[in-house]
Symmetry: C2
Subunit: 202 residues, 2 copies
């Protein structure tokens, strides 16, 4: 089975259990399934006969208006969890008994860095996920890392409740260690896509 | 008494109890005191004979390395408080019994907006400080406002402890209502500057 997750930064490919990144913009001649949030690819993908857009096939129980297809797909993977997909943006979605309870979107860790640098040259720093969020910062580097990670970690804690916490996306690895009972799954979006294919029979 | 607070976005002027903004870049011929974090003005201000730079006059008890002069000045205003100066960046500093305990720097509310817009056109929103931080968002507009305000509010709560909370800066008015025992002081930086002048006798 061949699955494509086309994001704003990367194109992730799932091929028979293996995940890779292929930003070439070339798509295969065999049948493949995809989700796409990158508008630059919408038109060209729609013209490929062997490409199946899962957007309309996803049946997610939710009251949320305007949920991105990438968030909907990842939510299909787990019935009870707070799911954090940490990329250029960080999406946080709450699933309870198979129903989506809502969620939010934070700017990504790299976006914090870029934003600080835009405000002032004095606010350029290196991300350090070892920052201690229980200590009050005593220098600029720690002050910026504290703000970045506390913003993300605190907002996740705010909505977590009693649910297990599951991270995916490239920056998920930098966040998971801040939490108890949290795990990282590289291919969560593909697990969700496979469930959509199974349910819809497409 | 004539005081100038020269920031990255605005030049704030205190003249005998009244505060105004004057971004003209012209400075008065009479004696005035200033703090400046905008490097574009450093050289020209240094050449003005009647201009007194308070940077070297501020005597703040702290172990923090690299504290900006604007933060140091505002900290001089209060001996026991968490002080939040919310502008293009949001600085948060903790003062206890006249000693600075450390602090952090968050990106400003407008910087969150700009950063989201940079990630995707789908993430353009209007700031809404009436967002309910105890409800899980059910649409994109709420999801982005939740993230923005929870990032800032949550990080402040994390360091607040039992101290009173005092806001200043243009966006302070949008944040103060999220907290109990919190107040807004428009001219806090100038109160700090006056204390520095008094203490140093300059």
């Amino acid at each position: 089975m061949l699955l494509y997750d086309i994001g704003n930064t990367n194109i992730k490919v799932y091929h028979d259990g293996k995940v890779s990144i292929d930003n070439s913009g070339f798509f295969p001649k065999e049948k493949f399934y995809y989700i796409c949030v990158n508008s630059a690819y919408h038109d060209s993908l729609a013209k490929i006969e062997n490409a199946v857009n899962l957007k309309e096939k996803i049946n997610l129980d939710t009251n949320y208006k305007g949920l991105g297809v990438d968030r909907a797909a990842v939510c299909k993977a787990l019935d009870n969890a707070v799911i954090v997909d940490a990329g250029s943006a960080i999406t946080v979605d709450i699933m309870r008994e198979g129903k989506h309870q809502g969620g939010f979107i934070m700017i990504g860790l790299g976006a914090f860095q870029q934003s600080f640098a835009t405000i002032s040259d004095a606010l350029i720093y290196t991300l350090d996920e070892k920052i201690d969020l229980d200590a009050i910062p005593q220098n600029t580097e720690d002050a910026l890392n504290f703000a970045t990670f506390q913003a993300v970690v605190g907002a996740i804690e705010k909505v977590r409740g009693d649910l297990p916490l599951v991270f995916c996306g490239g920056d998920g690895k930098k966040l998971v260690h801040f939490f108890n009972e949290a795990s990282y799954h590289d291919s969560l979006v593909f697990e969700g896509m496979k469930k959509v294919i199974e349910e819809s029979g497409c």
